[in-house]
Symmetry: C2
Subunit: 381 residues, 2 copies
C-alpha cells in the first residue's frame, strides 16, 4: 500500500511497452506502476516514477523489487519459474503464479495440458530426435511446423520444416522442440480473458489478428464474418483454460481459424499485442483490466466502444530522412481522429515502435485508416 | 528534443492532477512530461519520470526547469507574467504567452478586454473604493458579485455583497476587486477551444457545468437542451477570443446561461475541470489536445464518442471508516463500465480527489451512474 495515497502498488517485471501502457492505466486508478527495467532507456523506464534497473533472471533484484509491492506481475514471460516460486514462498503475491505461467513459457507443457483438457488444437508431438519429426510428418504431411519449446516470439523460434534433411539440421542445433502439423488456416484470431484470484473472469470480443512474416501487423475487433456460436465457444474455451490453468491476470488465446474449426495456437499471460485495440476500443482497456485482475478488483466492462476497431502496429521503416516527429506531424494532419501510441523506442527496421488505432462504423474505411496511419509513421508516406 | 526518442519534451509548471493526466496523454505521443512540482507528493510528481521540485514563482527554478524543454506550459495560472516574459526573452517557447495568460490571471484585464471585443458579459465595474460598489448596485441591483481580480478558484475570491455595509467591509480587506451584476442564470455552460501557434483551432462541444457551493460537481456533454445556433455562436465566440487574445494551448470559456443569452463568466488557459469528460468522451482528450496545441502539432478530432457523457467530481468525504481502496472495490463491482480517475491525493473533506466518467445513450441513466459513482468514492455508499 502506498501510504501517500492509500492505494496499492503493483510492480511489473519488464520495462517494455506493455509496462509503459500499464502505467498509463495505473495512473487513472490512483496508482503509480513500479517497474523493473533492464535499462533506463526501456519504454516504461522513460515514463514511470518508480523504476528499478535490474535483470529479470536475478533473484536478488526480484526480491528487492518485490519489497513495497502489493502485487508483482510481468510484461513478458521470461522470469524463471523457480524465482517466481521463491518469491511466492516468501509471501509475495505474484500473478500469474508460476504454476500457470509455465504453460505460457513452455510450449510442450502447454500442448500437453491443452491435450489433457481436450482443447481443440493442431496435432503435435514432442521431439527427442529428428526421427520423431520424420515419423510425425509421415502421419500428417510435410511440411511440418517445429517450435522451440521456450523463448519464441514474433515468428522467432518457429520453423517450417519441409523434409528430413531440414529436420536433422534443426535438431542438431540442440534447441528443445515440439512439432506441429501445418494447419491449412484461413486466418488467425484471438480471444483475451482476464481472471482474478477470486475467480471472476471477463472476456473480450474475439479479434482477427493479421500476420505478416510471423509478426502481427493488424488486429480487427470484432473478428469479421465469425459465426456467433463459434466466437462464443472460443470465449468459453478461453475462460475454461484460464480457470483450469489458474491464470491470474490476462490470458490471450491465439487461435487458427480453418474456416470450420478454431485450433489453439499459442497462450500468452500478460497484456498482449492482440489487445492494444482495447485502449480506445473497449470500455475497459486490457491494461486496466490486467491491473484490476492482479489486484483482485472487480473486472471491468469489455464492451466495444464502436462497431469496428482496428489496431495496426507501427514497425520501424526507412523514412526518407523524415524524423519520427515529422512523420507524426504529417499523420496527425492527415487523420485527426486516429489514435497514436508511440513506445519511446529508437527506430530500427522491423522493430515495433508503436501502434495506431482507428474506429468507426464501416470496417473497410476504419481498416484503411489504420493501415495508412501505421504506414505514415513507419515510412513517412 | 529527447535524444533517446527523437520526440519533443514538454515541461509543465505545476504538479497537480492536470499535469498528472497530461502525462498520461504525453506517454501515448511517445513523450514523457517534465514536471515542476512544489512537492514530491504532488499528484503528477508521484507518476512522472522527470520531476523537478521547485516553486513556480522562483525565476531561477523556472530557468533550470526550462532547460531541455522544447515547450514550457502550465497546469495553473499562477506563474508571474514577468517570469514568463523573462523566459520568452531568453528564447524559451512558453505557451500560453504572458500576453495571453494575463487575461486568465487578472479578472479586471479580462473584463476590459472582453468589453473591447464586444463579447456578451455581465455588466461590471472596476472597484477603487466601496462607493464604486454602491454606485454600481444603484445602477443594477443589490446583491452584486464582488470578485478578487487575482487568485480566485473554486468559489474562493468571489463574494455576494448584499449592502453597503458588506461592501465597506470587503473593500477594507485590501483585496483588489471588480464588481459584477448578479445574473439571473438558469445554469452554467462552458466551451473549450485549443489553438496552436500556427493558428489552427479545434473547439469541443458545449458542456453544462453543474456547480454546488461554487465548485463544479458535474459536467454534462453535450449541454442538454441548448439550441444549436446558440451553441455554435458560443463556440465561435470561444474561437474569436482565443485568436484575439493570442492563446496557445487550451482556452476554457465559462458562460452563464440566462435562458436567452450566454454571458462570459471566466476564462481559463489550461486543461480544465470542465474538459475532463473528454478523456473517454471525445476522440481527442483535452490533455492530448493541449500537448498538440503547444507543440504546434495539428489539432485532433473533438467529436463525442457517445451521445451523452457525464463527468462527476469526487470530493473527499466522510467515508464511515472505509478506505479509498475499499470504496474503489465497491464502486468497480457496482458499475463495471464507469471510468475512474484518482489523483493520488490524500483525502480531505471537500477536496477534489478524483473524477468519474460515465457515457451512453440515455442522459438520465448516464447522469445517475456518474453521480452514484462519485458518491461511492466520496462517501463509500
Amino acid at each position: 500500500m502506498d501510504t501517500r495515497t492509500g492505494l496499492p502498488v503493483v510492480g511489473m517485471v519488464g520495462g517494455g511497452q506493455l509496462a509503459r501502457m500499464t502505467h498509463q492505466a495505473a495512473i487513472a486508478l490512483g496508482q503509480s506502476l513500479k517497474v523493473l527495467a533492464t535499462s533506463p532507456e526501456d519504454g516504461a523506464a522513460l515514463v514511470a516514477a518508480d523504476v528499478q534497473i535490474g535483470g529479470h533472471t536475478d533473484l536478488s533484484a526480484l526480491r528487492t523489487f518485490a519489497k513495497g509491492c502489493d502485487v508483482v506481475t510481468f510484461d513478458h514471460e521470461h522470469v524463471p519459474g523457480e524465482h517466481i516460486r521463491a518469491l511466492a514462498a516468501e509471501g509475495v503475491a505474484v500473478y500469474p503464479p508460476a504454476d500457470a505461467l509455465r504453460f505460457a513459457q513452455d510450449k510442450q507443457a502447454m500442448r500437453e495440458r491443452l491435450t489433457a483438457l481436450g482443447a481443440p488444437a493442431p496435432r503435435w508431438r514432442p521431439v527427442a530426435d529428428a526421427a520423431d519429426i520424420v515419423a510425425f510428418a509421415a502421419e500428417t504431411a510435410w511440411p511440418v511446423i517445429a517450435k522451440a519449446t521456450r523463448g519464441g516470439y514474433d515468428g522467432k523460434g518457429v520453423w517450417v520444416v519441409i523434409d528430413e534433411e531440414q529436420a536433422v539440421e534443426l535438431v542438431a542445433t540442440g534447441t528443445p522442440l515440439i512439432v506441429e502439423e501445418r494447419v491449412a488456416l484461413r486466418r488467425e484470431v484471438a480471444v483475451m480473458v482476464a481472471r482474478s484470484p477470486f475467480g471472476q473472469v471477463a472476456v473480450y470480443p474475439m479479434v482477427e489478428t493479421v500476420q505478416r512474416d510471423g509478426i502481427c501487423v493488424e488486429v480487427i475487433a470484432p473478428a469479421p464474418d465469425m459465426p456467433t456460436d463459434r466466437a462464443v465457444a472460443a470465449q468459453k474455451l478461453a475462460i475454461d483454460i484460464a480457470h483450469a490453468l489458474g491464470v491470474v491476470g490476462l490470458l490471450a488465446v491465439e487461435l487458427f481459424d480453418t474456416g470450420t474449426d478454431l485450433l489453439v495456437n499459442e497462450l500468452a499471460m500478460r497484456p498482449h499485442n492482440s489487445g492494444h485495440w482495447s485502449i480506445e476500443g473497449a470500455r475497459t482497456s486490457q491494461f486496466e483490466q490486467h491491473l484490476r485482475a492482479v489486484l483482485d478488483y472487480p473486472m471491468g466492462d469489455t464492451s466495444l466502444t464502436a462497431p469496428f476497431v482496428v489496431m495496426a502496429n507501427v514497425l520501424g521503416g526507412e523514412a526518407d530522412g523524415l524524423s519520427i516527429d515529422e512523420r507524426l506531424h504529417h499523420l496527425l494532419a492527415e487523420d485527426p481522429a486516429v489514435k497514436v501510441h508511440l513506445y519511446g523506442k529508437q527506430v530500427r527496421p522491423g522493430r515495433k515502435i508503436g501502434h495506431v488505432t482507428a474506429l468507426g462504423d464501416e470496417l473497410d474505411a476504419v481498416r484503411a485508416r489504420a493501415v495508412r496511419a501505421a504506414r505514415w509513421l513507419s515510412e513517412g508516406r
